[in-house]
């Protein structure tokens, strides 16, 4: 494609992708409790309300703690599978890998309904921990992919050297392998964290009426009465995503994490 043409195309795509973000940011600054764009007046009170109002505060706490714990659970399940797949090449490890990827590829409404039924049957429907576990399993895919990539980058010469010097498997794992895959674990955690923070349907089906997360609260506000606080929440969410992905890119190789192959380094 022509360079000027592709610049124009990039500009158009960027404009369309940005448009809703700009509108939401603008709406969040309205002085009165009305949906106006461009905003009338200037006020940061809706951001203040987000951090003071008890019910929004509660949703923030729920979302952050669910995301933090679910991402931890996802990594804890993904790491042994990725390790076993790399170290032993077992068919069984490949099977578990497939299970780990499946819920993320299929329409999430299926997973959501599965959990609704499962938690109802086991008597944990509507509980905080049910949401954590459901998100944890649903998001295993992300750390599984990044950590597997991490293992692929390890030069076998290192583990060999450690083994010839007398280190047993556990020591090799702790002193050689773990430090090398740690950046990939961290980025897997970051991806899972951000997606959990924004996930709606599973959280809604598992505990939508008892554990209110931010997306659920925003959706309820959307249906049952507008408040500019929801625009303020959206802006904060976008800021958090930018910060986390920015950090991943700063400390990791983002193109590689996303599947770019040849190391065409400049």
């Amino acid at each position: 494609m022509n360079r000027a043409l592709s610049r124009l195309y990039f500009g158009l795509i960027a404009a369309v992708l940005l448009a809703p973000l700009i509108v939401v940011a603008g709406v969040s600054l309205n002085e009165r409790k009305r949906l106006l764009f461009p905003p009338q007046g200037f006020s940061l009170q809706w951001y203040g309300e987000l951090f003071q109002d008890a019910s929004w505060q509660n949703a923030v706490t729920n979302s952050l703690s669910i995301a933090a714990l679910a991402a931890l659970a996802a990594c804890s399940i993904a790491l042994p599978i990725a390790y076993a797949l790399w170290r032993y090449r077992l068919f069984y490890a490949r099977l578990l890998y497939g299970f780990g990827i499946a819920p993320f590829i299929l329409p999430p409404v299926i997973t959501a309904l599965g959990y609704l039924i499962f938690w109802t049957q086991t008597g944990f429907y509507g509980q905080f921990w049910a949401v954590v576990v459901s998100h944890g399993i649903f998001l295993v895919t992300l750390p599984l992919i990044t950590i597997s990539l991490g293992f692929e980058t390890i030069d076998p010469a290192y583990t060999e050297a450690a083994a010839t010097m007398g280190a047993d498997e556990r020591t090799v794992f702790r002193t050689v392998i773990l430090p090398m895959v740690l950046p990939y674990i961290v980025s897997g955690y970051a991806f899972a964290f951000v997606i959990s923070l924004n996930e709606y349907i599973i959280a809604y089906m598992v505990a939508g009426f008892t554990v209110e997360t931010l997306p659920i609260k925003v959706f309820n506000a959307l249906r049952y009465g507008y408040t500019p606080v929801m625009a303020a929440v959206s802006v904060v969410f976008i800021g958090v995503s930018f910060a986390i992905f920015g950090l991943v890119a700063k400390f990791g190789d983002l193109p590689k994490l996303l599947g770019a192959w040849s190391p065409r380094e400049e």
Binding site: P20, A78, N198, L222, F245, L254
Partner: protein
């Protein structure tokens, strides 16, 4: 590989199984078991009034053949198809050009795409409903310029829903296309150029045809992704635009007909699996024929 690395034999296997014990238990209890219960429940008998009891009846699947569900399935599949085509058509040239940039310049774009990808469906639905609304939407621009008398609302409507879904699918499509396109040999386009093709022509006669398997795979992935959309059809569409995902939730929560919802989601699952199997088969045949 070294002698200790990837050591087969009994000790190696035993250790591997030890390592895999915890993930097996977690995935077994919290992934495989819920799925089995879902399958079982789709055969349960629904007691009118909201409960269900164990049985082996095919009523729920028979209900799937009713006009309402058939029409809705056709509607859902067409919506997902249109969105998949739009998203891939828009994302392909974008992703191709992105992969041709130096890596350092790709990073800000990738961060941006990831941020949009992470946006909750709820936030996308909300922001587009603002953008298309009468009071705060795009129609205020022509009014301000004096081209229109009064602002108008474009939402809720089928078009608004398609727009929102395409927006939702776009970053996902970019990330699905990114790995295969970044592996395209840069000499391909150069060869076409030296033979006298203009850049645009080289793109359509060279890059698009060699990427056909990647395009097909992306179409199917985006199709399945869109099948799961749940919030946007409700926020930007009218009830007649609702997709299967909305109706499944509606059956389960509002109508308290869990067995019916289970049967519907299994039908959705079967359709998705079938399409993924096609994708995998295409991927395999691509590898077989160089």
């Amino acid at each position: 590989m070294s002698s200790i690395d990837r050591m087969p034999g009994r000790t190696g296997h035993r250790r591997a199984l030890l390592v895999l014990a915890y993930p097996s238990v977690m995935l077994g209890i919290f992934l495989v078991l819920p799925f089995c219960i879902l399958v079982a429940l789709s055969f349960y008998y629904r007691v009118p009034g909201g409960t269900y009891e164990p049985a082996f009846v095919l009523d729920n699947f028979a209900n799937l053949a009713k006009a309402f569900f058939v029409n809705n399935t056709v509607h859902t599949l067409s919506v997902a198809g249109i969105v998949a085509v739009l998203a891939v058509a828009l994302a392909f040239p974008f992703t191709y050009r992105l992969t041709r940039l130096p890596r350092r310049k790709q990073i800000p774009w990738l961060i941006f795409v990831l941020v949009v990808l992470a946006l909750s469906e709820v936030i996308i639905g909300f922001s587009w409903s603002v953008l298309l609304s009468r009071t705060a939407g795009v129609s205020n621009i022509p009014v301000w310029l004096g081209l229109m008398d009064r602002p108008m609302s474009f939402t809720p409507s089928g078009t608004a829903m398609l727009l929102g879904l395409t927006y939702l699918a776009f970053p996902y499509t970019v990330l699905v296309l990114y790995p295969p396109l970044s592996r395209l040999d840069p000499s391909l386009a150069e060869a076409a150029r030296t033979m006298g093709a203009s850049p645009v022509r080289a793109f359509f006669t060279m890059i698009v045809p060699v990427s056909r398997p990647a395009i097909l795979a992306a179409l199917i992935m985006v199709f399945v992704f869109t099948l799961g959309a749940f919030v946007i059809p409700q926020v930007l569409g009218r009830p007649q635009h609702w997709t299967l995902a909305v109706h499944i939730t509606d059956q389960a929560l509002a109508r308290a007909n869990v067995p019916m919802a289970a049967a519907m989601s299994l039908a959705l699952l079967a359709a998705s699996l079938l399409l993924i199997a096609v994708t995998v088969a295409i991927g395999k045949s691509r590898r077989a024929v160089p």
